[in-house]
Symmetry: C2
């Protein structure tokens, strides 16, 4: 998604040229290219797929909507398995229209995980609840902190449900380091993503994730927290940014790789 | 600030016509009108001044900037005392340019409060640290939660330093109700403000505070928390919203009063 201006084949080429060994994929471009074809493309290039983004959106009250969301998440698990990644990132969903009940919405996520966790495990996929920044609590993700994500995840085995730690979403939270330790002790850090916090935020606040090094986040500090908690997996860079997307994709990927080297240990 | 399109005399007239008994004021319009003149205006109208907004911006590293901020906050205390309110709301300030050190910034706030607290007490004014939504952590307020605000406030006597509970900033936080109880037990809820959470957020995310009833916040729920914690003070409505500011100020104030009655107990 960082370089969504590139097609999947262009992305694979650019990763090979830059020596990027692994990539996180999003469902929409994978589906558009064809899941099996995308799996073959990355496999043939020797690229590892770190995670698939994203399942989730599990907060609907309406029964038909809930059933549709569960079915879509099972498809997402299937796609993750086909791509050869063991991790499906979940963005939980916002408040249903007219609802002010954050607690109820969070409980409905747990209900859905009870169904999806075993299905994911059968397919060799772990679900990774991603707490999103509190500015998304109403319209995108009612899970706003690592503590909330772990409160949900702990109801299930770690091999079924864990969390995604994304610097953009948690950097402001002084309780996050302790929650990362909690997650690590349970082997529940299933993904680790970097983006920097830059302001002013754009309208709608969705596409303002900053290039590594451009903002307020000390990447090495957060890398230190997850590694001290035992995390040895991939470190993803995930930028959504209209300004970055308007640039040449290969050049942006090269810059991102340089920034990654510069700002991580 | 909810109706900043009204001049101070227009505001006082509109409050009288609507039966609004008390008003929170901001420093800039008060200074423009003249502090003593503003104090006389509201006093003659029988209006109570609930709070003065705002002091703060105490995170600078540069010594000259820090001295200037302290001097400005002493003036804010003086203005609050002149207006007859016992509460000065503090917006703590963001990260200094180039800094990524949230912890250090929060410590510098404590350093400043050690100087300002006694000065405020001498003038019959309490400082009310307002945690701002985490989306403001880098550029406006490094204090993002009630827990952080109370961790700071507790270093000082409650008659010097407490907190402001603003629904817009804390509504997403499942730990906030327990923190309100903590604040209440120490007599540190010095102000309580309402705004609703509406999306999409505008560019810069500053002027999108929603009219009561238009968004995701259950006002009675939060009123219940502060009242259960022993709060008996005023309930302020504080909206900054470019769309609302473009409307007729008296009509907006009347709507706000109706919404307040409709959505609070």
């Amino acid at each position: 998604m960082t370089v969504k201006q590139l097609s999947l084949p262009e992305l694979v080429d650019a990763c090979r040229d830059l020596g990027v060994p692994a990539v996180g994929l999003w469902r929409e471009p994978v589906q558009a290219y064809g899941v099996e074809a995308a799996a073959k493309l990355v496999r043939d290039a020797g690229l590892t797929v770190t995670t698939l983004c994203r399942g989730g959106f599990l907060t609907a009250i309406d029964l038909a909507e809930r059933a549709a969301a569960l079915a879509d998440n099972r498809r997402a698990v299937d796609e993750a398995a086909a791509l050869g990644t063991d991790t499906l990132v979940l963005v939980s969903g916002g408040l249903p229209a007219g609802s002010k009940d954050l607690r109820g919405a969070r409980e409905r996520i747990a209900d859905a995980l009870a169904e999806l966790g075993p299905y994911a495990e059968e397919h060799g996929v772990r679900l990774a609840i991603e707490p999103l920044h509190p500015m998304y609590a109403s319209d995108r993700c009612v899970v706003s902190t690592l503590a909330q994500a772990l409160d949900l995840a702990e109801r299930f085995p770690a091999r079924q449900v864990g969390v995604t730690v994304d610097t953009y979403h948690v950097w402001w939270d002084d309780t996050a380091p302790a929650q990362i330790a909690r997650a690590g002790a349970q082997d529940r850090i299933h993904a680790f993503q970097l983006a920097d916090w830059t302001t002013p935020l754009p309208e709608g606040v969705l596409n303002g994730r900053g290039q590594i090094g451009d903002g307020s986040v000390d990447m090495r500090e957060w890398q230190g927290y997850v590694e001290a908690a035992g995390y040895t997996g991939a470190i993803e860079v995930e930028l959504f940014n209209d300004v970055l997307w308007a640039r040449d994709g290969r050049e942006l990927l090269a810059e991102t790789a340089r920034r990654f080297v510069e700002h991580t240990a």
